[in-house]
Symmetry: C5
Subunit: 253 residues, 5 copies
Amino acid sequence: MDLATLIGIVVAFGVIIGSIALGGSAGIFINVPSLIIVVGGTFAVTLMQVSLKQFLGSFKVAMKAFMNKVSDPEVLIDEAVELADTARKEGLLALEGRKISDPFLQDGIRMCIDGHASDIIYKMLSKEINLELERQKTGAKMFKAIGDSAPAMGMIGTLIGLVQMLSNMSDPKSIGPAMAVALLTTLYGAVIANAVALPIAEKLNGLSSAETLNKKLILESISAIQEGTNPRILKQMLVAYLPEEKRNNNKKK
Amino acid sequence: MDLATLIGIVVAFGVIIGSIALGGSAGIFINVPSLIIVVGGTFAVTLMQVSLKQFLGSFKVAMKAFMNKVSDPEVLIDEAVELADTARKEGLLALEGRKISDPFLQDGIRMCIDGHASDIIYKMLSKEINLELERQKTGAKMFKAIGDSAPAMGMIGTLIGLVQMLSNMSDPKSIGPAMAVALLTTLYGAVIANAVALPIAEKLNGLSSAETLNKKLILESISAIQEGTNPRILKQMLVAYLPEEKRNNNKKK
Amino acid sequence: MDLATLIGIVVAFGVIIGSIALGGSAGIFINVPSLIIVVGGTFAVTLMQVSLKQFLGSFKVAMKAFMNKVSDPEVLIDEAVELADTARKEGLLALEGRKISDPFLQDGIRMCIDGHASDIIYKMLSKEINLELERQKTGAKMFKAIGDSAPAMGMIGTLIGLVQMLSNMSDPKSIGPAMAVALLTTLYGAVIANAVALPIAEKLNGLSSAETLNKKLILESISAIQEGTNPRILKQMLVAYLPEEKRNNNKKK
Amino acid sequence: MDLATLIGIVVAFGVIIGSIALGGSAGIFINVPSLIIVVGGTFAVTLMQVSLKQFLGSFKVAMKAFMNKVSDPEVLIDEAVELADTARKEGLLALEGRKISDPFLQDGIRMCIDGHASDIIYKMLSKEINLELERQKTGAKMFKAIGDSAPAMGMIGTLIGLVQMLSNMSDPKSIGPAMAVALLTTLYGAVIANAVALPIAEKLNGLSSAETLNKKLILESISAIQEGTNPRILKQMLVAYLPEEKRNNNKKK
Amino acid sequence: MDLATLIGIVVAFGVIIGSIALGGSAGIFINVPSLIIVVGGTFAVTLMQVSLKQFLGSFKVAMKAFMNKVSDPEVLIDEAVELADTARKEGLLALEGRKISDPFLQDGIRMCIDGHASDIIYKMLSKEINLELERQKTGAKMFKAIGDSAPAMGMIGTLIGLVQMLSNMSDPKSIGPAMAVALLTTLYGAVIANAVALPIAEKLNGLSSAETLNKKLILESISAIQEGTNPRILKQMLVAYLPEEKRNNNKKK
């Protein structure tokens, strides 16, 4: 589990809140109606773009960004090479019942054991990869939608505040505080978009790319295992999935 | 029918109107000339980009965003598996007269019964999918055009108001209210774009993707049915169209 | 001929001018030096991006946006089906001298009569479609360039005005009117971009897509006619080019 | 040679300078430190993105935008048809020593004379086209980078000026002129980007597209010449590279 | 090693700092809380989008932008031609133990010596190119993320400062300096984005393109060497990777 997203959001809010506290009167930064128009408006506008099910599922998707569970490609390579070794020495059926950590790799191996033709396995797993990628993009897109709507709702809130302030300027002393309140919605919108929604969307996209790459590595491994490729050659083929520096470590092992 | 878009637009406007009402004098937010320049201008500029027929058809397209009628892929899979079962046991002709819920699936099955070659059916249905996707994109693009024009017309309105105000500043008391009125067009433009047009455009795009995915599922089913694929294998193939969690439920059945 | 673009531009300018007139002193909105910097600058900057020939040809291209002459796909389908019927009953040569409304369809039929091989006809017409699409994109791109330059020149004009005003603020009364004049270039730029150039660019792109789709329909028809396809099947194939609702009307006929 | 870019830049600067001169005190628009931060900063930031060689070569690339030397496709078609005629009547070797205006066409013809296989010639020339296109894109990208950096450096300069002005407001009379100076960098940035760099980038892209199209025309001609295609048919094939109106002129000849 | 990026960043900061120093009181431009919110916030938000490992590795990636070590294609061509010459005269095995400057070329030659089939070598090296390109894009993307976050955090800081200032305007004299401080975060954000992060991201992308092109050149060379292509013809093939002017020099040699 990678803590980067959690650390990032805690530090980001720490810095923002610290900078507010430093100014003394932190209370002026909390305004319930402003919060309602930005948060409520953003959620409402995002809800318009999706189905109820997708909307309610978004919290679960967001959790995924905080709990980075993408398998390490090095581990996958080692596991695939071991499987290839067993399959070569004792036949594909020897892999039956074997404990495999990655569910996608397990699915593929099970298909091999079931005796499906290699081109059918390849086609089915490829389709699985593409469709899963599509589903993950939908999750990231919802956070992108939140990140696009929040500043817009913030601006709408500020415009409402400005119109109210400008149409009633009898008391010059009230202008400053009224404008401060009007600007709060813009601030809320900017924080929600830039310190919450857009980074989560980006993170989900990144996770999704890493997972897809892992799945392509697995797909290649499965084809090789089924064809009875030499495990040494398989390792040489898969090493391209690692960056230069990790590759050297891997060779030493 | 999914109510997300309807709930979303009601809540969004509720939040905006509530926030205006809270300020007391809601009347200052209604200005007929400002409304005419933003709404009229936006419609005029959008009309420039399309044909009269497309423009008048846009209300019907918008209704589609509110009445989400995309078939559930689980239901489609069950139906396709049943059809495959019948076709395998009693032949393709046994599907004649069978009630099929999805019109695209029905068209495909009818083509199979009519005895067209499988590659011709595949080509015709694929073309149908692509052309329908193209048509749906045109609908979404019109709402995108509205969403792009509304803030521009809002800015034009505000600039006109500012020029009028600035060129006649004899009475300092009138500056505030005059500027409030000038800002109204920007507010109208922002609301039309961000709380109406752009979310509808996004929703239409989402619906269109979901429909296209369903049609690809159907296309795959039809090819399998025509080839007399084992219904159990067909189910295994189609399950990739479902997210992980639904897949498990589906297996239990 | 579709009047949408013409009606749109008239209404858009009507709304803008009406909103100016409502404010009383419409005269302040006309400032010749401001007009020269925005209009002249925009044209100059656009001219930099193209050749003289393209620039001078742009007015002709703009006229195209106002005179929508894209053939109705229904009419094309009917004509293609008729031609297929004749070709099937009396041979391809019977189409010689036949009056054909669409020039692209006519070119294709002439090639068939001339006895070219079907794959050569397909390749030549496909290339023709792609190259024509490329040429039309160039036209739309020039209006996009105008739409991008106009607000930039408007901003440059406003900055010049502001610098002049700010560096000479001896008379406080002159500040308002000076700033009003400075804002005029921004207003001109916004109107040229959003109510003229960008919608025309969008319209040209839309026309171009519709024409390309028609040409693909024709390409498919010509291949079918040359192969002597059954007119009933050709109609079934081409009907995919129509939206659902038109398709039903077409079936009833 | 097409003078559009030269005329365009002269008129654009004429309009801007004229509009400044009209205001009287043109001197206030020249501020050496402001010029240094915008021009120097923009060049420095652009230099960061490329290699020294690319940076120094950019002036040569810019000259290309002003000296439009793209061959006229009509001339190329006539030349190709003549070559095809000679090759058909007297054999490919008769083209040896023949003066050919376009270097790319000459290269291709030389390859034919050297007796390379047609698929190798096709592959080598295609690669040449793609790699040259890639190189030209790099040139245009540098001017795009200048056009993106200049407004950013302008904004940085204005922010520096504003901070200096705001932190020292003891003399109210100095506020106006100080702000005028602060705005100058924004103005410089906007002029460099919108009246120089971005139009040149766009022009280079346009030239590059036109050249690539010409090269595709030549590639097609060379294949046809090598295969001994009938010159009349070659002309019919190449005419698709011309717009409708030029095509008619070409037919009459 | 190309110094462009190093020179660029030094000049950019020199110009910015010089322009600040010119204004006299450079001290007002340093504000530690403002620095913390922009720098800390930007790093935190960027950290949210990646894994800890990627984040910590970013400094190493940034160094790459400053130490341009992309091989010169001319040198690669000369080396490849020499290798082809040896391989043709003395056989592939004669290349064993030969010192080769480029590691990717060396890997490919080793594969040839090991006797792998040419299509397998081609496939493995192509995959290596694509995966390496993907990894390099991830590095550039992180600097793009920094460049997108910094202005956003700058704006958030300015909004916080404005709200604090507006809600407490009892002392008119403090307004100017308070606003100056509020603007500092916007300035910091603009400098970080436009003079550091975005140019580095662009540079990394450029390096990555140049490296990929070199690798494609090597891939082509290796295929040719394995097939025993004539070195003179290989040179002719590879020369397309050089711009026109270098090509002539190369021919003279």
